[in-house]
């Protein structure tokens, strides 16, 4: 028996199709289906239609947590971009021992987010943290600094901690993009009298825009749904000061055990990250 080209291609794609079905489509279907159920692990499971979505949009913490995640996401992405750019520009100039510095660059990215959160929490502890102690010793502060217990500073603290883990990823992407820019362009620009800032604005930025957009997209999407670093740092506190949307969904599952509401929250998260991705893709294509 001889397979035709079409059937042979289908058979070769079958394992991938099975994986997509089992790990992507089926869970997605379950998510949609669960979001339409009253599934609160207290009362019997019944079809609720859009009831979960209505309850979600009316929940006191829904819009609040979206506001928090917007602040967190924009700030983390911006700090990651600037940090990654600074690192990439510095690394691009290193020739001797470049492999060593690039390996160091990767380290924060290699640390699990939860461990990273614990380390930052210890460093910023007002009672035994090195940062508070150093600042007091140099006379910049009189009393111990409580970042993660302070309403106004806690968000700054988690942005810094999360950005620290993401900067290496952005740095690697931007470094690769920088290294792909032909040095001839810079030489020509220098001959024409262009300064460093001009060369950066009119040569570097336009040519690395594509990879930068990819890095930005991934960073934005991941930070939009982050809770793993926030958990050990603040657990969404103090007083919900760092209560991002991902945490809200987590609480629906683990604390309220309302799987229907959590699934509805998951669908909202899915649509919002898809929207973010769509915006980036549109902007990228428009540029192209």
């Amino acid at each position: 028996m001889r397979f035709s080209g079409r059937w042979y291609g289908f058979l070769l794609n079958l394992p991938g199709l099975v994986i997509v079905l089992l790990w992507v489509l089926f869970p997605a279907f379950l998510l949609v289906y669960t979001s339409l159920l009253r599934y609160d692990n207290v009362r019997p499971i019944v079809f609720a239609g859009l009831g979960n979505y209505i309850a979600l949009f009316q929940h006191r913490l829904f819009w609040f947590s979206l506001q928090k995640v917007a602040i967190f996401c924009v700030s983390t992405t911006a700090l990651t971009l600037f940090g990654g750019m600074a690192l990439a520009l510095s690394m691009a100039r290193i020739t001797k021992g470049a492999w060593f510095f690039r390996s160091l660059l990767i380290l924060p990215w290699a640390v699990p987010a939860v461990i990273s959160g614990i380390i930052w929490k210890w460093m910023f502890s007002p009672d035994f943290g090195v940062i508070s102690d150093l600042l007091m010793k140099v006379g910049l502060i009189d009393t111990p600094l409580s970042i993660y217990g302070n309403f106004d500073m806690a968000m700054v603290g988690i942005i810094v901690a999360d950005s620290w883990t993401r900067v290496p990823f952005m740095g690697i992407i931007l470094l690769a993009a920088l290294l792909s820019v032909s040095p001839v362009l810079y030489e020509a620009a220098m001959v024409d009298g262009a300064g460093a800032l001009h060369r950066f604005a009119f040569i570097t930025l336009p040519l690395i825009k594509g990879p930068a957009m990819v890095g930005l997209l991934i960073t934005t999407m991941f930070s939009f749904r982050t809770i793993d670093i926030i958990m050990p740092l603040t657990a969404g506190g103090p007083g919900r000061a760092t209560y991002v949307f991902g945490y809200y969904i987590w609480d629906q599952i683990v604390k309220t055990l309302n799987f229907g509401m959590a699934a509805a929250g998951g669908m909202v998260l899915f649509f919002m990250t898809s929207l973010i991705a769509a915006i980036f893709v549109y902007l990228s294509r428009r540029e192209a």
């Binding site: 217990g149 506190g237 007083g239 609480d251 683990v254 604390k255 309220t256 055990l257």
Partner: protein
């Protein structure tokens, strides 16, 4: 030919249904155990040596292992390890203890239940805040036969009888470890410990220095604000759960007093730090061990840590423990009370009947005098079986009589479903008060309103 094949298949189906039906009607494995034989339960488990119930061998035949989740690393639970080994010696069933970090333990448990998975046989759980939710989810195997002896309740502190029974009249949990909290203090700074919270507050103000707080409590970790609130409410004879309406109540007179005192300590007296918003109960213990707190309320098991200068370098043996304060001198001595903490054990309903039998046997052993003895003497937890404190070996542990009294006075309340979310709401509004986003009593009133909104519909 086809007709014969069809007839054969039909016959097979009928036979299969008959066998299956017969199997369904026969006794389940765990029903083979005669819990009140050879002696009533109270005598079987209440003596120094645990006695296995009749019928256990047939019930667990073929079971090689049960998996039991554990709060945190096993190196901190030597009694649990010894109890597991003893159970294996008695029954031949190996107990595989799964050391799960505390933070994700509920998430892991729920994941397994939601998947209807038999991956784990026995789960540990925090009784006060999680029990009713787990029961409501329909995930637990009932344990009524284990408690089918009216005398068995006399082995334990009074609250346990009412704490384990749920609204449907059944029991789904049993005892893993029990703890309560006591007042730890620095005798070099506080030679005579306070007997009341009012006295403690005044003392904390006097002894606070730039390097050491007068009193430190937890308001930062998940559930942790409930510890100091409950202690103060119970010390006035109050309660935090309206059992009839299944509501958390914090704006009672006792709740208001507790809320005010805790916020005043930070905002007015400055005898407690604003960084209470960062502390879990473990963080409070750390503060005392580092010598940064004069007085704290923490679990009795922490006495083991403070005895070791390497684990408590900031105090170097300068510590003592006494019973929890009552509110003031007008209150009776029985109000020297903290909360009765049960780290319970529950059985997964999705495991097979033989595994259930083995799991029930394990729970039977873990709530016995013998197991409680190890918890008290080896590990420094409290003994669920109160008479263990009268054993001569109990004199080896710090303040055994005070701990026995604390366990007798301790209060066990079981939160309604969504208990963990409700404690989050308490944490949220308490933080708003400490962070000066709201006036303290305004925060309390708003907190109560949100708690009422969140409660499960009647």
């Amino acid at each position: 030919m086809k007709a014969k094949q069809l007839a054969f298949v039909v016959l097979l189906i009928i036979l299969g249904l008959a066998v299956g039906g017969a199997a369904g009607e026969s006794a389940k494995s765990y029903e083979l155990i005669k819990w009140n034989s050879p002696k009533p339960i109270s005598q079987r488990i209440g003596g120094p040596t645990y006695i296995l119930p009749d019928g256990w061998k047939e019930a667990v035949a073929g079971v090689k292992r049960i998996k039991v989740s554990n709060f945190g690393a096993l190196k901190h639970d030597p009694a649990t390890i010894q109890n597991a080994k003893k159970f294996e010696e008695l029954t031949g069933v190996k107990v595989q203890l799964l050391a799960w970090a505390e933070a994700p333990i509920v998430a892991k448990t729920i994941s397994i239940f939601a998947a209807k998975s038999p991956a784990v046989d026995v789960f540990c759980y925090d009784h006060p805040t999680t029990y009713t939710q787990m029961v409501a989810g329909g995930w637990l195997h009932p344990l009524d036969p284990l408690w089918d002896d009216p005398e068995v309740w006399k082995l334990y502190a009074e609250p346990l009888k009412y704490g384990l029974r749920t609204a449907d009249g059944h029991i789904y949990g049993s005892i893993g470890q029990t703890k309560t909290m006591m007042l730890y203090y620095r005798p070099s700074i506080v030679p005579k410990p306070p007997k009341t919270w009012v006295e403690l507050r005044d003392l904390a103000k006097k002894v606070t220095t730039p390097k050491m707080w007068g009193y430190v409590y937890s308001a930062g970790g998940e559930m942790d604000i409930i510890y100091p609130l409950r202690d103060m409410v119970y010390s006035q004879g109050g309660r935090t759960v309206d059992v009839k309406r299944q509501r958390i109540v914090i704006d009672s007179p006792e709740g208001r007093n507790a809320w005010k005192m805790l916020t005043d300590m930070v905002l007015v007296d400055k005898s407690a730090p604003t960084s209470v918003l960062e502390y879990s109960w473990m963080g409070v213990s750390d503060m005392f061990a580092m010598g940064k707190a004069t007085m704290i309320m923490t679990h009795t098991v922490d006495a083991n840590r403070y005895q070791d200068p390497k684990k408590a370098p900031g105090i170097k043996g300068d510590w003592a423990v006494t019973s929890p304060p009552k509110w003031d001198d007008t209150k009776p001595d029985s109000y020297h009370a903290s909360y009765f903490d049960v780290d319970g054990l529950m059985i997964n309903t999705y495991i097979n009947d033989k595994q259930k039998a083995a799991a029930m046997l394990f729970l039977d052993f873990m709530r016995s005098y013998e197991a409680s003895y190890r918890e008290l003497i080896v590990e420094g937890n409290e003994a669920a079986v109160i008479s263990v404190y009268d054993h001569p070996d109990a004199s080896k542990i710090p303040v055994p009589k005070a701990r026995q009294a604390a366990m007798k006075n301790a209060v066990l309340e079981t939160f309604p479903p969504t208990g963990r979310m409700l404690t989050d709401i308490l944490m949220e509004y308490f933080a708003n008060a400490i962070g000066r986003k709201m006036a303290p009593m305004e925060a309390l009133e708003k907190c109560q309103k949100v708690l009422d909104d969140y409660a499960v519909p009647e």
